[in-house]
Symmetry: C2
Subunit: 255 residues, 2 copies
Amino acid sequence: MIGIFDSGVGGLTVVKEIKKELPDVPIIYFGDTARLPYGNKSAETIQKFSVEIVDFLENKGCKTIVIACNSASALAADYLREKYSNLEIYDVVSSGAEAAAESTEKKKVGVIGTAATINSGVYEKKISEIDLEIKVFTKACPLFVPLVEENWIKRPETKKIARTYLRELKLNKIDTLLLGCTHYPLLEKVISGVMGRRTRVIASGSKLAGKLHEKFRDQAGKGKDKYYVSDLTPHFKTLASRILGKNTEIEKAEI
Amino acid sequence: MIGIFDSGVGGLTVVKEIKKELPDVPIIYFGDTARLPYGNKSAETIQKFSVEIVDFLENKGCKTIVIACNSASALAADYLREKYSNLEIYDVVSSGAEAAAESTEKKKVGVIGTAATINSGVYEKKISEIDLEIKVFTKACPLFVPLVEENWIKRPETKKIARTYLRELKLNKIDTLLLGCTHYPLLEKVISGVMGRRTRVIASGSKLAGKLHEKFRDQAGKGKDKYYVSDLTPHFKTLASRILGKNTEIEKAEI
């Protein structure tokens, strides 16, 4: 049983990738919709919330945890690994950094994400641990999450904002742009359109599904996938169906 | 001692109005920055959070509570009044509805706010209780809060988004537009610019300060103003100083 958590609905883009690779391994998802977003909050608060969620997932029987939220990966992954040495903890930042380092040929990578993720400097650190020669250019794009939540995906306003945010990364002639927030894959078309054909746009969760596949292939678990949230709104249900492409049963849980 | 709360920093625009009228009455402010925003959350969750905050303020000695958050006013004010019959509870929705009803001559009022506030239908209800003949046109503007948080107040992107959001209200020839969210006064210039000179733009908290003045004038309290938040980020401090126009000492509090 794999436990996957996010501040809200964005982590479902990671679930989708994982279910493609491992359709027979049951997952438990927790979206902290009562307290989202994490992207503008402090490390201390994000760590506290993450511990509450991991406790919840562990109680449900999860031994493997996936942090499907870049802000929580950036600010709480090391903290959680130290606290829960009995659990195997994967996070989207580590896998995203690997994917970006593999992808770049000109050794120029761009990373976009929330203010919390970008200000943490975690992507520069992780990518330089893999290859010191890679130059990393970052940009916080705080409006992308609310634009996705508002479903303004195809609107000219969104394109205009994307152009503003991405201008400098484009001038730096990066060949790889890492989407360091799980909401951003929903804006992939707009972002790719602005960056042009010479930039490869990759999602932070893309390599993670492959890693889990290596570990869990040939395993089939018992039990059904379960989706929990800390606050249940019609809006969340709509977004969840939009991402997973089907109606998903979601339960509210107090943590 | 007046206790004032909001989901975050927006309620400080209400504090500013109150302090203008009652400079000598001490206030205690609580901004729930760890769990903001409230505007896209359910009634149940907003009520739960509000109770925790009112308990905190009551413990600090507040007998008068001001809900300086439209989403909490819309979805939790009646609930709180019933639960805390010993406290006097003011809210920005009731005072905003009164201000709008007084202002309109053509009996056509527009109200903008978060999804939670607008979907609750509370402004239509409150305004029709004052004057059944007033037509109320509403529009949720979920991107305005993140635009303020991003400090994109003078950007062309913000003007473009404001034009999109306000188009229909303009077509309906309202003469009064109520800003039903405490973040929106920071966008007043953009909003007034889009609406044109024939529309009066008023803040939901504007009448509230006057009401409190009637109750508390000639009173001077002991003690200093105190500002608490559930999460403390540099970003919050910047926004707080921008609104209050001075450096304000802010303390983190667990609730």
